[in-house]
Symmetry: D2
Subunit: 451 residues, 4 copies
């Protein structure tokens, strides 16, 4: 049982997903490291650095299930070396012949950075899949509510009308850009690392570059061309893109959170039959998912900041920056996974209360019609004169334009009333269409899986 | 096994201490929560809100060992309520009479914030103790090396001389200020929280304020006077002070890291007999502790940032900020614990290589004597004229002042030579004395334990 | 005209105050630096390092008005030395005798850190004054609205009732803790710095420590005892406390922002006769001050983060961290000044709409009475049974408890109705009293000016 | 004269470039805003919203030179509206006919976001150009020093050898990825914004979408398809990429800073004839540019963090996030410009001291040969046995492997001596070639200007 809530039995579901636990759980991580060592031995056997038989034995035996993890942990602490505990654990289970041929010539960071490459492949695929699923839902919402008129809000205040589809389209459009970022970044991220001591491949003599090429190929990773032990832009970029994804989801969550206020009531989180919002106020139905999206985004940003800082690494290897990534990188990945999964759940059952939206629109005609009245008057009086006049009229609190403007002789009561009742949302709906069109086009042209 | 390295069996020793695991480990945390509930029932029994017999039963039975934590975890996820899983787990083990009298009128955050108060008391005490132990070592180093002359370095370049004691005194002085911060903050931090639904104590009717007073007193916490569910400055401040402590330790670590470069070799980390620095370069002796102090400080700062952001909370309770604290607050506490423990270990065996320091001083006489030569010449020529003249002479790379200055008729070779050989470190040593004196005075006047 | 909006003619009022411009404006800053040099020469004259006549001339002539700032700027860029341009500018205006006696033995950072000490004294005094003024207003609001009942809100949803005074008291209480922090920190912050080359005072030979003591005393700053050129905790702490102050003000702003939504309308920003909220929607009255408090807090936190990072400085002087402070430190000071000034303005005219608050309370009786109904039923059925029953009843959306509970035989319609109508806010009012009492007591015991 | 050092006459060259001052200087910014208004009027004339003659007059008269900026500033403060001051200034200089046709239907953020689009186009072009120039220098350094053997360093300690070309290639490779990021992002960033009140284009009725298309086209910006007033990922991404660029440059700077230590002396910053490093220590030659690259990266990261946070914006417009961008976005742009310009200057005259590098290599043969000795022994004894043996031998401090290994019968003195003398850097050189090849290929395939 861990000392971090994110690893706790009770609360870990809030900070990760079972799927990503399958990547980051200690056993999964160690198995992944072992698989990297298996591949290392295999390609070293190809060029004759280790015997083929030893490589085969390693492939057969280097399984996390075989290891005595308590011994590994104890040795890790005792040697204060990140990998030596694991190596000792392996030596204890490998056949004698294989023992001398495991982890040959590689440095710890070769394994962990290659693992980062694999992690980015796996996490990137999850994020790609979930972002596209999210986009699909958002595009669906946008299309479905293309004409569901509701109040626009700026600075927290009611403004001209939009439609709920317009909100959803804005989210979909943002999600689409994240999908593009993922596509463009993949080749930069899904790479391996092999370099030995200082990243110079010196251990392997003439075989070095070819060995790395084979190593990467075998793992399905691109060959980086040059060691990136202190070139951490890949990690910083991946982490930042994920933090941005969380930012978008927090924006969606924030909108639900605010519009689900009882006083507004235009959106509501899906009701869950077993869910209990409050133990002190039985009536409560808290927007827990929406709010948690914000929490996750805060933490994701924070971890991304650590990764950005880590770019300023020294020399050929720099534990200061690198070890900070050990914490921050898995963190941002899992927070993003949790965030996407939560957002999908939120959207799946999101209640869009068209009637409440319409009620707001009706109730606040003066506010929602304000832009149109200005536009119409501007056509008659000029923009600034119209503005000036309206400011003066409206400053007298509660001024009824339907009465006030005719009194000033600038419009009839019918006109004002009509302008206020029917501000245009045509352009808004056109924007929805455009976003949906672009999404459909992009989706058709791209693979379902992240490749 | 967790999905975070900080909770992993292999690596958790890098990100926390066993002592603080005893605070933050899930079982320890839950036991602490249960103890809070026990106290709640106890004081509620005093005012007649729950029967005394129920309170007694709760005190007897609300133990984490009794709970089925898998069931608790499952119910936490299913209800998606932070406390309901725990409550259901408790109901399953409490005697029938007690069941209806547990967790009465309190909101989740009452428990977790009160726990934060207890955590600050415990963690603060550890930090106080370790900071004072650190100060003791630093003052010891300062006194011992009061006159161990070494090169000063500014902008990474050799400058006028200092002593190693001066460096240690600068660290001690900074540690002292943290000790002061801890002392001044305690009364603000070690407080309880009880408010119910919206923090208004409404559930308890007329008993509210007295109940809270008793609740806090029983737990050894101060009564906050008013609910602080969304007044998070305490948490932000505590976290920031801890991040600052880590910053100081990283500064110490950074100095060791740099001066332990083989090309400098003036400091070295304690050698550990079993320690292995490198699996690819057997000769390596990496400054792992020093470097890890920097890693820990980065992460601590990052968590403190989350806590600062959390101050902007909404209304009477705000899960967005609060839940982010759930991650960031234990994090910064444990990172600081790890950091202090590591720093103590580092200082305990720190090798201060006086002869290497002296060798640098001898080798770079020109550089180290530069300030004194300027001072002496300034006495003769005026400051800016002396400066100008020296800049010109020195610009001719490698210029030997012992030859060049006599040639210009501004000093004899003996003078220049003497100035270069013996720049003054008297004031430096006086500063060491002053810091030691202040520390001794402050230590004598303060308690050993944080109270 | 600057390249930063914060320095721009049009917008600088958003990011600072005229008062603090008087500290940070380039001329003011340079004058402050010159005054430090004047004091330096004066105390050096006392110990015979420079002639008294030269010190007197420097005191007479080292005025920013006398300098050719274009020349100073040009020389600063050309020499790429931070102080040499200024020195050259001074040499051009000082009498011949004084020229060689200006800026003797001090390093640039001696001047700028001493200036930081002066800045902390000035800014701290402003923040102290404004925080106390803020507290006075908040305590006033708390007392005035001690019994102005309004809905409590948690997770953005309506909960049990509080009073507006309770909100204001929570803010006042938080402000009080900032005032305490300022008081406790002053002695740490308001210090001078003099050390020369590497902070060792070597230039001044035997005079060093005494010179520094006189230098600090003359400037009204404490003597630090030891150079703090790379011990940056003072700056980090001061900056962090300011960022926390901004956090509190942003919390206040956020509350106004949300409760000023038209759909809620319980608070409103002061109307300004000339103010125009929107050029496209004449009806708008945006909560611009409230919103800007949030903006300022974001930026302040960001700068505080830079200062925290700067604590990890190297050796005896480290330009990397120090120069970052040059930007971040004045920034956080000015943002805080702007923030306090804006908050005072906001509070001065804040409209507290008691009738709207009462309307919400009436309209949402079911929600606001929820905690009390639970408490009452719990007294009859036990807490968890009552909870369970209420959850079930309320899950049937819109369930009317006044009908439903009597139907279940657990309460009469009159009882339910009464509970819903009159949840208790007595304890809330007591908390207000307690905060007001504490504030009054603290205020009476502390000086009006920051000392 | 500003209140921020970044805008100060003396120091602004440290925080920006004259070229970017031409973008961000207040006059330049205002002129850019006016040009946007000119285009707005022009395209509105096309669809008949404003008279063609008014649009022509606006095009002729809306020049910053014509404005009374003091009046504009005063009106901005008085109305507390971001654009109204400017509008009033314009009204004062426009012919009567044009007055009512300026700034029609657009909201402030339409202008400032469109300006952000223009800014990204201009700044992106500068960054593209400078990054490619940087890459050219780095590739040049890499090729020139492909075989300049030097010590590798990990954890600050000497390790196996690399070449200086390898370091430069690692930087070039990282720069290349930034160039790719810029290329991939351009289409996302260089967009306009027009939406009016709530971004819905309602003011313009049926003309809306076509008007925006024409508006964007006329400005050379892409049409965003949908308003992005609260979809801030573009800004966050652009800012983050810039902060990453600064991170890379700080990494380069850091390497120079460390290797320019006198005790190492393998690199040196270009000497500048007029440059003065220290006024207290005439001998000093501080790595000021290297160090400042780190300072700039800290600040850039900090601003990027503000932009990331800004993604969580509310509703259709949110001043809290948006106004923070007003500060943070120009900041990160200018810091990056300064950083690139400084890095180019640093690289242009960088002294690569091959002889000092060779001296280190000779002096620390034992350390640099360590990996090769291990590799050779591993071939004979197996990896872990060899490792174990070497750890034991080397633990006896100062052990001479040339003596010790023959004594153990595992190698002859000649062999050990040869291994230590000639560890392989062949693979390192191959990596250099690969990076140069990739860079050449990529450069040939891409435009010189950012398009």
């Amino acid at each position: 049982m861990g000392t971090r809530l994110s690893s706790s039995r009770l609360y870990r579901h809030l900070w990760g997903t079972p799927e990503l636990a399958g990547v980051f759980d200690e056993r999964a991580m160690l198995q992944s490291w072992l698989s990297i060592l298996v591949v290392l031995a295999k390609v070293q056997a190809e060029v004759g650095i280790v015997p083929a038989s030893a490589a085969a034995q390693i492939a057969a035996e280097a399984r996390v299930d075989a290891l005595d993890l308590d011994f590994v942990a104890e040795q890790t602490a005792e040697t204060s070396h990140s990998a030596l505990g694991l190596i000792k654990g392996l030596l204890a289970v490998l056949p004698a012949e294989a023992r001398e041929h495991i982890y040959v010539g590689a440095t710890v960071q070769d394994v962990t950075d290659t693992w980062f490459g694999l992690v980015m492949r796996e996490v990137g695929a999850v994020v790609w899949r979930d972002l596209r699923a999210l986009e699909a839902r958002l595009v669906g919402l946008a299309a479905r509510h293309r004409d569901t008129v509701m109040a626009g809000r700026t600075h927290g205040q009611l403004g001209a009308p939009v439609t709920f589809g317009f909100k959803a389209a804005s989210w979909a459009d943002e999600a689409r850009r994240h999908i593009e970022r993922l596509r463009a970044g993949r080749a930069r991220w899904v790479v391996g690392q092999l370099g030995g001591a200082v990243g110079g491949l010196g251990y392997f003599g003439a075989h070095g570059p070819r060995l790395r090429a084979r190593f990467c190929a075998e793992l399905g990773l691109a060959d980086p061309g040059i060691s990136w032990l202190t070139a951490r832009d890949r990690i910083a970029e991946f982490g930042t893109v994920l933090a941005m994804v969380c930012g978008t989801l927090a924006r969606i969550g924030g909108e639900v959170y605010e519009l689900a206020r009882l006083e507004i009531g235009e959106l509501a989180e899906p009701a869950s039959p077993e869910g209990v919002s409050s133990i002190t106020m039985p009536h409560k139905r808290n927007p827990e998912r929406s709010e948690h999206l914000d929490t996750l985004a805060r933490l994701a940003r924070s971890s991304a900041g650590v990764l950005l800082e880590g770019m300023v690494a020294a020399h050929e290897r720099d534990g200061r920056a690198w070890k900070a990534e050990w914490i921050a990188f898995p963190e941002v990945c899992q927070l993003t996974g949790a965030s996407l999964s939560l957002a999908l759940e939120l959207l799946d059952g999101l209640e869009v209360r068209g009637e409440a939206m319409a009620a707001t629109v009706r109730r606040y005609q003066r506010e929602l019609g304000s832009e149109r009245v200005l536009a119409e008057l501007a056509g008659r009086l000029g923009k600034h004169r119209a503005q000036q006049l309206l400011h003066e009229v409206l400053r007298r609190d509660g001024a009824d334009l339907v009465t006030a403007l005719p009194a000033l002789g600038v419009a009839t009561a019918e006109e004002v009333s009509c302008w206020q009742r029917s501000p245009s949302v045509d352009a808004v709906a056109e924007m929805v269409d455009e976003v949906c069109r672009r999404a459909a086009e992009a989706r058709a042209a791209e693979p379902e899986h992240w490749t």
